[in-house]
């Protein structure tokens, strides 16, 4: 991927995004964009503002600036309306509907759909994540963290989004499970033409699967470019790659 602006407008275009929790400002005018079908990762340490960025985009926290999704402004829109516009958000902690079964979690994911392909889609995600199929009648809260992460992705995909926002899916997962989750994400991105905005601390894995990356430090974007470019960047290596 190259960094120069393409002729097509990006799927998501964020300009001067600013957010605060009470008197504490968290985001200081972020500019970022995600193209149709592009896999973008945002790296940053704890407290850099990654989670706030995603929550501002999906309507869970209020923010100023501009965010256009497929040409329509989404900032200040209620979360369920953002979901309807085609943005899925897998929040930190996976957002498991813990008292519902796996199948019911997926049914909630398809809540807005009126078409008759919901069951077929569900079976497709059961094929992608066989362990969910085994546990389809189990209460979601009783599953392992990795299984819940897979369920969260499948639930998000049940809404047939065009863009998925993922908040640190690796958190609390064993390295092997994290790798499996990232591989699935990469597959979905490639096969479904789904755009991905992933925020992560685990830069090694994230840069392997991403097309492009941003580095967020203390609420400001300090670096951006292709995944290869950032992998080669010395300060990124020091801070996130443990080189």
């Amino acid at each position: 991927m190259n960094d120069s602006p393409t002729t097509e407008a990006p799927l998501l275009k964020v300009e001067n995004l600013t957010a605060a929790y009470g008197p504490v400002q968290v985001l200081f005018g972020l500019d970022l964009q995600v193209g149709d079908g592009e896999f973008v990762v945002m790296l940053g340490a704890n407290g850099a503002g990654k989670t706030t960025t995603l929550r501002a985009l999906s309507g869970l926290v209020s923010a100023t600036g501009a965010a256009r999704f497929d040409g329509t402004s989404i900032l200040g829109t209620r979360a369920d309306k953002v979901a309807k516009a085609g943005i899925a958000h897998v929040p930190q902690g996976r957002g498991t509907l813990s008292e519902l079964t796996v199948e019911e979690n997926l049914a909630v994911g398809a809540y807005l759909r009126r078409d008759d392909e919901v069951d077929a889609d569900r079976d497709r995600w059961f094929d992608t994540f066989p362990r969910l199929a085994e546990r389809r009648h189990q209460t979601a809260g009783s599953m392992s963290g990795g299984e819940q992460q897979m369920l969260a992705i499948a639930r998000a995909m049940m809404g047939r989004p065009r863009l998925i926002l993922l908040d640190e899916p690796s958190l609390g997962l064993a390295p092997l499970i994290t790798r499996e989750v990232f591989e699935k994400l990469s597959e979905i991105n490639a096969s479904a033409g789904l755009a991905v905005l992933l925020v992560e601390q685990n830069a090694n894995l994230a840069l392997e699967v991403a097309d492009r990356a941003y580095v967020l430090e203390a609420g400001r974007i300090t670096d951006e470019g292709s995944a290869a470019h950032l992998k080669a960047n010395e300060s990124v290596q020091r801070a996130y790659l443990g080189v």
């Binding site: 369920d80 929040p91 509907l97 008292e99 019911e104 049914a107 909630v108 809540y111 809260g141 963290g145």
Partner: protein
């Protein structure tokens, strides 16, 4: 005293009365459970809303002498009116307080305000004198082991079973039910899947209050009533859901019936509880359950692996 010769007929009478009262507690309990599960709070106005709905039925039927609408038709109509009315009340006074999970105390205080308001409404529209409602069921009875099980008591139990089954089916098989359960377990995650949380809560309120209409009409039965008739009943209903578990519809049914059976039998066999201390068993029950098994018989303790 019934210590010397155990009076089977009297005991069965008390048991049947226990089922009749318990059915009412259970129906009110179901309403409490819906609101607790979706919003995580107790609606203290649940009983008074049922009381006011009962007045609406009474007015439609044509007042004390009847002569107006058929009582069953009036019941169904008032359930619809109450559903809409409760939804409007939720949108007008509960919703502006925001997510009830974040601000539960404010919402509870508002439901207490609703309780007081509802309590005064019959006097405002009509009066607070004694009235009589055309009963849902005739005065006959069936004979069980030589004891009369009145149609009224039998009807209360049947109505409870019908409501519980309808409620269960709504939760399990409808989109509203799925949304209610999703909001109750994780409202943020539900909204990220496109569930309009506040609208779902509004419909939950409507459902809860509509269920309560039957409880109000059943409580009145063949007796005269005034605006105070729900004051004690709702406390027993609270005891019932505490026993059964605030988040469990099954618990509301079992808990409500159990409290009915206890309160209709115990005072007649334990002299110390009789008369002045009639409410004591309910209070002791609440206390013991909260100490021994805070989640109630059927309530779930949240299990969440990370």
């Amino acid at each position: 005293m019934h210590l010397l010769a155990f009076d089977t007929e009297f005991f069965l009478q008390r048991i049947f009365a226990g089922f009749e009262s318990g059915a009412v507690y259970a129906m009110l309990g179901l309403g409490l459970v819906i609101i607790y599960r979706s919003s995580g709070l107790l609606n203290f106005a649940q009983g008074e809303m049922a009381m006011f709905s009962t007045y609406l039925v009474w007015a439609l039927v044509g007042g004390d002498g009847g002569g107006g609408m058929n009582v069953w038709l009036a019941l169904v109509l008032v359930m619809i009116i109450s559903f809409a009315g409760a939804a409007v009340i939720q949108a007008a006074v509960i919703r502006p307080l925001g997510d009830p999970h974040l601000n539960p105390l404010a919402v509870v205080i508002v439901t207490i305000g609703l309780y007081l308001t509802m309590h005064e409404l019959p006097a405002l529209f009509w009066d607070s004198a004694n009235h009589q409602l055309t009963p849902l069921f005739g005065t006959g009875s069936i004979d069980i082991a030589g004891t009369a099980f009145t149609y009224r008591a039998l009807g209360a139990v049947v109505l409870l079973l019908v409501e519980a089954a309808a409620f269960w089916a709504i939760l399990r098989y409808t989109k509203l039910g799925l949304a209610l359960r999703a909001v109750s377990t994780n409202s943020e995650s539900a909204s990220l899947s496109g569930v309009a949380v506040q609208r779902t809560l509004m419909l939950g309120w409507g459902l809860a209050v509509a269920i309560g209409v039957v409880a109000g009409v059943t409580t009145v039965g063949t007796q005269v009533f005034d605006p105070n008739f729900m004051l004690v009943v709702i406390i027993y209903a609270f005891a019932g859901v505490t026993l059964g578990g605030f988040d469990s519809p099954l618990g509301a049914v079992v808990g409500g019936l159990t409290v009915g059976l206890i309160t209709e039998t115990l005072p007649f066999y334990v002299d110390a509880i009789g008369g002045e201390f009639q409410l004591m068993p309910a209070f002791v029950l609440i206390l013991v359950v909260l100490l021994v098994r805070p989640q109630g018989l059927f309530g779930r303790r949240e299990v969440n692996r990370v």
